[in-house]
Amino acid sequence: MVLHVNMAAAPGRKEAETDVTLKHTRRRVGIWRGEVLDAVTTEKDGRRTYYSYTYKVAAAGRWMPQVRWDNSDGEPHVDKYDETGTLKERAQTVEKRLDDVLGTVRLYRRELLTIPASEL
């Protein structure tokens, strides 16, 4: 059963479809209370050119990054942060997909902090 609510719907209004060559998507996936995964991707002509998947925990009114997988420097890598959100460790890795990262994050959650970056 699906309940669908469109808060900006206007009767008879339908958005015109246009060809999209560049699509930037930001997705927040709730993992647990006070834990989310922020996924950011850019696709050009259907091909993914940028991705970042950041596991964050809520602390002091902010979302603090804990582990991040991305290809922002042109090379896929994984970064780990300490409890204050300060970058402390980096390791090279292979290209990641959202489903892979989600599986890892849901399985380990806060225990990710105890796993070396090279093994993530």
């Binding site: 059963m1 699906v2 309940l3 669908h4 609510v5 469109n6 808060m7 900006a8 246009t18 060809d19 999209v20 060559t21 560049l22 699509k23 930037h24 998507t25 930001r26 997705r27 927040r28 996936v29 709730g30 647990w32 209370r33 989310v36 922020d38 950011v40 850019t42 940028y50 970042s52 950041t54 809520a58 009114g61 990054p65 991040r68 991305d70 922002s72 420097d73 970064d79 300060t86 970058l87 980096r90």
Partner: protein, 146 residues
Amino acid sequence: MKVDLKSVARGESTTRELERLSGVYGTLERLQLRVGVEGCSNPDAVDDLELWKALRSEDCVVERLITYQSPAIFAHLTPRRLDLLQRMAMKEYPSIRSLAEDCGRDYKNVYDDLTALKLWGLVSLVRRGRCVRPSARVVEMKVTLD
């Protein structure tokens, strides 16, 4: 149960995204400099740089999705907060005060509600001089009961 929240911005409606970025970082060049220095020490800035570069393309579409797989979010979606979201989805407000006046509610209470919604990623609050401009980040909600 799965709750999906979505908004799509294309063409002129991406100006809100640009306004948010300008409000936070100033200019694209400043953001590039900052990312050049801080790199992944500031992951949000890295992602925002990618967004800003994408927005320079005329046919860019920005899609925002939020997925929650527990009903916990409903404890925070009170009728008054849903009313705020709906008002912001239908109309732009230059400040929190203008939104509060439109609702006929106290400024402090509206501010508290917006702060709670912001933590769930449902609204953005961009400082513009002395005012804070609220805007809805989602306009569509889908609840799937499995």
